[in-house]
């Protein structure tokens, strides 16, 4: 098994936004809140001033041992600071910076993950122990959000399929159901419907068995060579690169193998807008916006806007299109 220390130099370009850039934005936003004769009452997303100081109390991240991806795909990475400060994790609020602000206290250690259902050997595993023994690898993937923006993220993780075989799935296992931690005390979005954007918690997701077993599907425990920040789904999350980002369920506590298609959170809330499959597809628009192109969040400032065409299956069609042969993807969106 090839285990190498993460070397920063494998990430080519200068991919960092100066820390001052994102750190001081809180102050800016706080200043903005004072405008319009007091009528501009701060939204909850502008309320917390964690980044008002120059030293954000970011949750500590540990360096990981992993095998770098070789050859690394020719993709421009999204700077780490942007990956960590532009998140959808409604358990911590619906604003894009809410998760970074509100999740730093999330207790991720210890963390257990239960695998149950249609398996011969159900078990509860210690995620931190798993991380140290399973053999981690880097996967540089495109990430396409259903909201028509995208990133390229160097994940660290392991194949879900290989992991699941440890538990000996039975022949009745047709789908895999995932569940995020439910802990309203730690997750303000679960305490308050308004903060949590109306999602019925705990957040649940699902994959068909063949999707789950596909070598591109990983459980990620880190990004940019270190353990995941809470806002990105620490300590363990799903990454399915050919599907819209919301399929990538965060902070997973339970995986259940099941016979029938499991419910999924966004589909439950808005079935006409979000399907079970949620494969990235430029030909099938969201009812309220086009999915034909996307805004790539890369290096550079506000005006370095890059709009690019969205690729079928997010560019992973060669590997995964066969999973859906014969299916009407307009119907199974």
């Amino acid at each position: 098994m090839l285990i190498k220390s993460p070397s920063r130099h494998t990430l080519t370009e200068a991919q960092t936004t100066p820390e001052s850039a994102y750190v001081s934005r809180r102050q800016v936003i706080a200043g903005l809140g004072a405008g319009i004769g007091g009528l501009l009452l701060a939204r909850n997303s502008y309320g917390l001033d964690l980044f008002g100081s120059d030293t954000p109390k970011a949750a500590p991240r540990k360096p990981l041992d992993f095998a770098p991806q070789k050859p690394a795909p020719a993709l421009t990475l999204t700077p780490e600071a942007k990956v960590m400060n532009h998140n959808n994790f409604y358990e911590f609020g619906t604003g894009k910076t809410d998760p970074a602000e509100n999740s730093q206290g999330l207790k991720t250690e210890p963390w257990t993950l239960t695998v149950e259902g249609e398996v011969e050997k159900p078990a509860t595993v210690d995620v931190w122990k798993l991380m140290s023994e399973i053999g981690l690898e880097e996967r540089i993937y495109r990430m396409r959000c259903v909201e028509a923006w995208s990133m390229v993220i160097p994940w660290v993780g392991f194949e879900l399929g290989k992991f699941l075989t440890r538990f000996a799935p039975t022949s009745r296992a047709k789908y895999v159901a995932f569940q995020t931690l439910y802990d309203p005390e730690q997750m303000p979005g679960q305490r308050n419907r308004y903060v949590g954007g109306g999602v019925d918690y705990p957040y649940v997701e699902g994959l068909r068995m063949d999707e789950a077993m596909h070598p591109l599907t990983i459980l990620s425990v880190g990004l940019y060579g270190k353990t995941l920040p809470p806002q990105n789904g620490a300590p363990i999350r799903l990454v399915v690169p050919w599907k819209y980002g919301f399929k990538g369920i965060k902070s997973i506590v339970k995986i259940r193998l099941v016979e029938k298609m499991p419910p999924t959170s966004w589909n439950k809330m808005l079935p006409q807008e979000y399907g079970f499959y949620a494969n990235v597809n430029p030909a099938v628009d969201h009812p309220r916006w086009s999915q034909a192109s996307e805004r790539f969040i890369g290096p550079g400032g506000l005006f370095a806007v890059k709009r690019q065409d969205t690729l079928p299956f997010n560019g992973y069609g060669e590997e995964v299109a066969s999973l859906y042969s014969g299916m009407d993807l307009k119907k199974f969106y």
């Binding site: 405008g35 009528l39 308004y194 109306g198 999602v199 309220r288």
Partner: protein, 208 residues
């Protein structure tokens, strides 16, 4: 009525102070945005938040604009009505910034995409219609034009009622989930329109 003259000049002064306050209050956040952008202070990926911020600011300004007339009436403070023109113009400025941020920063001036989004997406069409009306109101806001247009001016500028509703509707349909916040704004808009229902009815009747 002995204090009337004194009270009148005091009110005049207050109206001027409020007028200055409107300009400062509406301009400062915009200046902040520009300074912050130039310094690269907005970091992360601020495009979505920038657009939302400008959009929310526009809706709040619209509500504030609607608040003036009825407030002037109940307070017997006619000079408050002077705030309507600057507030209305600021609504247009904020709406234009919101719209151009979407055009330039989100869609990167991809005109074919902009065209298809405008036609296909109802919530964008709603917002665009509201902006078009605000544009018409802004260009006809000169006092000289107001006198020249007479009754037509009143008819045209009554469209602000429609703008507020369109803006709320646009907001409601644009959010990914959660109806509470748009519902609050819509309720506030309806409340303000109800408060001035007689004026709204008069305006509606003027089209007969």
């Amino acid at each position: 009525m002995s204090g009337a003259t004194h009270g009148a000049s005091w009110r005049k002064l207050l109206a001027i102070v409020l007028q200055v306050g409107v300009h400062v209050g509406a301009l400062l956040p915009v200046l902040w945005l520009f300074v912050a952008i130039n310094r690269g202070d907005l970091g992360g990926d601020p495009v979505k938040e920038l657009i939302h911020y400008l959009g929310m600011g526009t809706i709040r300004l619209l509500l504030l604009t609607l608040l003036i007339s009825p407030l002037a009436r109940v307070l017997h403070f006619g000079q408050l009505n002077r705030l309507r023109r600057p507030l209305g113009l600021w609504c247009f400025v904020w709406a234009s910034l919101h719209f151009s941020a979407w055009l330039g920063l989100d869609l990167a001036l991809d005109w074919s995409l902009i065209g298809s989004e405008l036609v296909q997406r109802t919530y964008i069409l709603l917002g665009f219609s509201a902006w078009l009306i605000l544009f018409a109101l802004a260009v006809t806001s000169l006092p000289a034009l107001m006198r020249k247009m007479g009754k037509q001016w009143k008819k045209l500028h009554g469209l602000l009622y429609l703008v507020v509703l369109l803006a709320c509707w646009h907001f409601w349909w644009s959010v990914k989930s959660g109806w509470i916040e748009p519902a609050i704004y819509t309720a506030l808009a309806l409340l303000l329109l109800w408060w001035r229902r007689q004026a709204v009815l008069r305006w509606l009747k003027s089209f007969r």
